[in-house]
C-alpha cells in the first residue's frame, strides 16, 4: 500500500502529468468552470431563471436566448447556469454522505474486526444486494419525494462501496503490523485511526469519490426525471429534461442543453476519475 504522498510534490507532479494529457486537463477545467459558474450564477446568467419572459415561449436558440426558451418562456441558458448550483449540491451532499458513513463503517470494521466487522459487513452486503437506483428508490419511498430526500437516498445507497474500500485499506495496514506498533507505543484507538489509518485512505477514496460523484449525479438526475427528486420550478437538469418530453418534436433545444450539461459534467468527472486512479494508484493502471 502506497503511503500518503507528500503534498507539495504531489501537486507539482500532478500538474506535470496533466500537461501531457490535454483532454484530462480540459475535463478538469470544465469542473473548475462548473464551480465558478455556480458561484457567479447571478452575474453570468442573462435572465432570472424563474421569470416568465412575456411573449417568450419556445424561442429557438438565438443571440438573445443562447439556448432558447422553454414552454413557459424561461431562458434555458439561465436555467442551465443556475442548475450548476443544484448539481454541485447534489454531487457534494451525496458523495459526502457516502464517504462519511462509508469511511467510518469501513474503518471500524477493518480496525476492530470480529463481531463488529461481521455485523457491519453483513449490513453492507445486504445494501449491496440492491442495485443502486433500486436502493435509492426504496429509501425515497420511505422519505417521500423531494430533492433533499433524493440526495439522502443516493448518498446512503453509495455507502457500501466506500465501506468496502476503507475496510480493505485498514485490513492491509493491520496485516503489516504497522498498527500494532503504534498501539504498543500506547496510542489510543481514535488517534491511531485518525493519524495512521485515515491518511492512507485518502488516495483510493479520492478516486472513488470522483467517479462516484458522476454516478450520483446521474442517479439523482434520473430520480428528478421520474418526478421523485427536484420539484418545479427548480432548474435541476434532470427535471428540465422531464419537462422537455412534451416538446421533443416542437422544441429540440429544450431537451438538448440540459442533457448536454449532465453529460459534459459526468464525462469530465469520469475522465478526471480515471486519470486520478492512474496517478494515485499506479498498480491499477491499464
Amino acid at each position: 500500500m502506497s503511503s500518503a504522498i507528500p503534498q507539495r510534490s504531489a501537486v507539482v507532479l500532478m500538474w506535470r502529468r496533466l500537461r501531457r494529457r490535454p483532454v484530462v486537463a480540459g475535463a478538469a477545467m470544465v469542473l473548475v468552470a462548473l464551480v465558478v459558474l455556480a458561484a457567479a450564477a447571478p452575474y453570468v446568467a442573462p435572465y432570472d431563471p424563474f421569470i416568465l419572459i412575456p411573449g417568450g415561449t419556445l424561442h429557438p436558440p438565438s443571440r438573445q436566448f443562447l439556448f432558447g426558451t422553454d414552454e413557459l418562456g424561461r431562458d434555458i441558458a439561465s436555467r442551465v447556469v443556475y442548475g450548476t448550483r443544484i448539481s454541485l449540491q447534489i454531487g457534494f451532499v451525496t458523495v459526502g454522505i457516502s464517504l462519511l458513513f462509508g469511511t467510518i463503517f469501513g474503518l471500524l470494521a477493518g480496525y476492530y474486526g470480529g463481531r463488529i466487522e461481521g455485523a457491519i459487513m453483513a449490513l453492507m452486503d445486504v445494501l449491496l444486494a440492491f442495485p443502486q437506483i433500486l436502493l435509492a428508490l426504496a429509501i425515497l419511498a420511505m422519505l417521500g419525494p423531494s430533492l433533499t430526500n433524493a440526495m439522502i437516498a443516493v448518498g446512503i445507497s453509495g455507502v457500501p462501496v466506500y465501506a468496502r474500500t476503507a475496510r480493505g485499506v485498514t485490513l492491509a495496514l493491520r496485516s503489516m503490523d504497522y498498527l500494532d506498533a503504534a498501539r504498543a507505543q500506547g496510542a489510543a484507538d481514535l488517534r491511531i485511526l485518525l493519524r495512521h489509518v485515515l491518511p492512507n485512505m485518502i488516495p483510493p477514496i479520492i478516486v472513488l469519490a470522483t467517479a462516484g460523484m458522476g454516478i450520483s449525479l446521474l442517479v439523482a438526475a434520473g430520480l428528478s426525471y421520474l418526478g421523485l427528486g427536484a420539484q418545479p420550478p427548480a432548474p435541476e437538469w434532470g427535471a428540465m429534461l422531464s419537462e422537455a418530453r412534451a416538446y421533443l418534436r416542437n422544441a429540440w433545444w429544450m431537451a438538448t442543453f440540459p442533457g448536454l450539461a449532465i453529460m459534459v459534467v459526468v464525462l469530465s468527472l469520469n475522465l478526471c476519475g480515471d486519470w486520478l486512479r492512474d496517478f494515485l494508484d499506479p498498480r491499477l493502471r491499464t
Binding site: 421569470i51 415561449t57 420539484q231 420550478p233 419537462e243 416538446y247 418534436r249
Partner: protein, 529 residues
C-alpha cells in the same frame, strides 16, 4: 388525328383505372372486425362504475354499460335500458318499463331485480361511492313491481334525476357478478353494453371485446352489435407519446394536447371535431380549513392576483376559455353574468386585500405576517397542462412576494389527499353533464367522502344546493343556480382558471364514429377500413 389519339388514350386510362380501383358499392355493409384504439394518460382507478372517481372510467362505462335512460345526439332524453318511464306529479315516484331480452355479459338476464340490486348497491354507505351514489340522490326505495317494471321512490323531488340517470356511472351492473366477484368486480366488470370486458393489463391497456348479443342499443345507433371486434384503451401517460402514436396510426381516436393541435390540423389527414369541455378544466381550489386560506380576504386576493389570460395563452396555447365560476358555458345552468361579477385581474386590489389580512411585504419583498412568510404548497397531478399552469401561477404569485410550492401526486393519490384535507390548496378539474355537479363539489355532506375538497361548511350554501335539486320549475332552477354561482364566487373557494376546447382527431380509416354532445365518441356505428 393527334386529338383522337389523345382521347383514346384518356378513355383507355379511364377504363384501366376503373378496373384497378372499382367504385365503392353503394349501401355496402360496414365491415365487422378490427380494433378501435382509444388512449388515456391515466389508468382507471377501478372499472367499477359505482366506486370510481376517475373520469376515464366514466368514459369506458359508456361502452361497457347501459343506463336506464340516455341522451341522443341532440341531447334529448331517449330510451336506454328502460323503454319508457313516467313520473308522478309530485316528482317523487318514478316508474320504469324495462326492455325485454337484455342480457348481462355474464349471461344473466337483465330485469327489474337487477335494477334494484344495482341501485341499492350504488347508494349503500358501505359502497362508499364517490359519484354514482350521489347521482341517485334521495332515492328512498327501489320496488320491483313486475319482471320488467321498477318503481323508484324519492324522499323529495330531485330535478337532476333524469339527467343523472344518463350518466355512465349510473349504469346497471350485473348483480350476480357483483356478488360473486366481490372486491375483484372492479378488475373484471360486467354490464350490458355493446362491449364486454376482456382484459386489463396494468399500466398498458384495457381490452373490451364486441358483445355479439347486443341488440338493445339506443335509437341513435344501428340496431345490433358494434362493428369493431375490439375496443382498446391504451394507457400512455405522456401527451407527446400519445400524439406520436396517433400519427403512426397506433391509435384510432385522440383528444390532442394543445401543443400539437395546430400541427395535426395542418396535415389535413384527420377528421376533426371540437367542443368546449363540459366542466371547468382547471381551477385552484383552496382548503378553507387550513392557513392561510381560512381567511376569505386572502382567497379573494388570489382571485385578483392571478392573471388568467396568460395562463390560458401559455398552458393551453389559447385553445379554450378563461373560467370565472364553478360552471362553464357548456353546461346548462351557467350564468353568463359571472364574467363581470367575478373578480378580474387587479394587482392593486389583490395587494390591498392581502394587506388587510395582515400580509405585508417584508425583507426582499416577501409577504409576511407575524414574522412568517407567505408560503404554501399546492398538490397537483402529473398532467402537462396542469404542470404548466401551476408554474405560471407560481411565477405570477412570486411577483407579489408569495411563495407557492408545487407537489405532484398520481391522480388517485391526489384525490385521496384532497378528500382527507391534507392540502392547503390544489388543482382540480371536472367533466360533468349537468349543473348538479355543484352538489358534489360544494355540499358539506360530500366533505371527506365526495369531491368537496375545499372542506367548506356553510348551511346557507347547502340550503341553496338542496333547493336547486328539489325545484322542478326550470326557470326557478336557473335563478337558484345563478345565486349559487355568485355565492361561490363571493366565498372565493376556487380560483377558476380555464376551460379547454377539446380537439378530437379521428383517423381517416375510422368510419361512422360520432361525437356525442356529452363529450364522448359514440362507437357503435364505427367501422374500420
Amino acid at each position: 388525328m393527334v386529338a383522337w389519339r389523345r382521347l383514346a388514350r384518356i378513355v383507355l386510362l379511364g377504363v384501366a383505372l376503373l378496373v384497378l380501383f372499382p367504385l365503392p358499392r353503394l349501401y355496402a355493409q360496414p365491415r365487422v372486425g378490427g380494433e378501435l384504439v382509444l388512449v388515456s394518460g391515466q389508468e382507471p382507478d377501478t372499472l367499477d362504475a359505482q366506486k370510481t372517481s376517475a373520469a376515464v372510467t366514466g368514459t369506458l362505462m359508456r361502452y361497457l354499460g347501459d343506463t336506464l335512460v340516455t341522451k341522443d345526439l341532440k341531447g334529448n332524453y331517449t330510451a336506454g335500458l328502460a323503454k319508457s318511464w313516467s313520473v308522478s306529479r309530485d316528482g317523487l315516484t318514478w316508474t320504469f318499463q324495462l326492455k325485454d331480452n337484455v342480457k348481462f355479459h355474464d349471461g344473466t338476464r337483465f330485469n327489474a331485480q337487477a335494477v334494484k340490486v344495482s341501485i341499492e348497491r350504488a347508494v349503500a354507505p358501505e359502497t362508499k361511492s364517490p359519484i354514482a351514489g350521489a347521482l341517485f340522490g334521495p332515492v328512498a326505495s327501489v320496488q320491483v313491481t313486475g319482471e320488467l317494471a321498477v318503481v323508484l321512490k324519492l324522499k323529495e323531488p330531485f330535478s337532476p334525476f333524469l339527467d343523472n340517470l344518463t350518466d355512465p356511472r349510473a349504469m346497471i351492473v350485473s348483480p350476480q357478478a357483483v356478488q360473486q366477484l366481490g372486491d375483484r368486480f372492479g378488475r373484471s366488470p360486467v354490464g350490458t353494453g355493446p362491449f364486454k370486458f376482456q382484459e386489463w393489463r396494468s399500466a398498458d391497456r384495457i381490452i373490451f371485446a364486441r358483445n355479439p348479443d347486443y341488440q338493445w342499443g339506443p335509437s341513435y345507433v344501428h340496431a345490433g352489435p358494434p362493428y369493431a371486434e375490439r375496443l382498446v384503451l391504451r394507457i400512455v401517460p405522456e401527451d407527446a407519446s400519445q400524439v406520436a402514436a396517433f400519427e403512426r396510426g397506433e391509435l384510432s381516436i385522440l383528444t390532442a394536447p394543445p401543443t400539437d393541435v395546430k400541427r395535426l390540423q395542418a396535415t389535413g389527414k384527420y377528421q376533426l371535431s371540437t367542443f368546449l369541455r363540459k366542466g371547468v378544466g382547471l381551477f385552484l381550489e383552496f382548503n378553507v380549513t387550513r392557513e392561510p386560506f381560512s381567511d376569505l380576504r386572502v382567497r379573494r386576493a388570489l382571485n385578483y392576483a392571478i392573471e388568467k389570460k396568460s395562463v390560458l395563452a401559455i398552458a393551453l396555447e389559447g385553445l379554450g376559455e378563461e373560467a370565472y365560476g364553478p360552471l362553464p358555458p357548456s353546461i346548462w345552468g351557467y350564468w353568463d353574468g359571472i364574467t363581470s361579477y367575478a373578480p378580474g385581474y387587479d394587482p392593486a386590489q389583490a395587494k390591498k386585500l392581502l394587506a388587510e389580512a395582515g400580509w405585508r411585504p417584508g425583507e426582499g419583498g416577501v409577504l409576511q405576517k407575524d414574522g412568517k412568510p407567505f408560503a404554501f404548497t399546492i398538490f397537483i397531478a402529473p398532467i402537462d397542462t396542469w404542470r404548466r399552469s401551476a408554474q405560471i401561477v407560481q411565477a405570477q404569485l412570486r411577483a407579489y412576494g408569495i411563495q407557492m410550492d408545487i407537489q405532484t401526486f398520481e391522480f388517485g393519490t391526489l384525490l385521496a389527499k384532497f378528500r382527507a384535507g391534507e392540502q392547503q390548496g390544489g388543482f382540480m378539474g371536472y367533466t360533468y353533464t349537468s349543473p348538479d355537479i355543484v352538489q358534489l363539489w360544494f355540499h358539506s355532506s360530500n366533505i371527506g367522502t365526495g369531491l368537496a375538497f375545499s372542506h367548506y361548511k356553510d348551511p346557507a350554501l347547502d340550503k341553496m344546493i338542496e333547493a336547486s335539486r328539489t325545484e322542478v320549475d326550470q326557470q326557478k332552477r336557473l335563478a337558484i343556480y345563478r345565486d349559487i354561482q355568485k355565492y361561490i364566487v363571493d366565498k372565493a373557494l376556487w380560483v377558476p382558471l380555464w376551460t379547454n376546447t377539446n380537439y378530437v382527431f379521428i383517423q381517416p380509416s375510422v368510419q361512422g364514429a360520432k361525437l356525442h354532445p356529452d363529450g364522448f365518441v359514440v362507437v357503435n356505428d364505427a367501422s374500420l377500413r
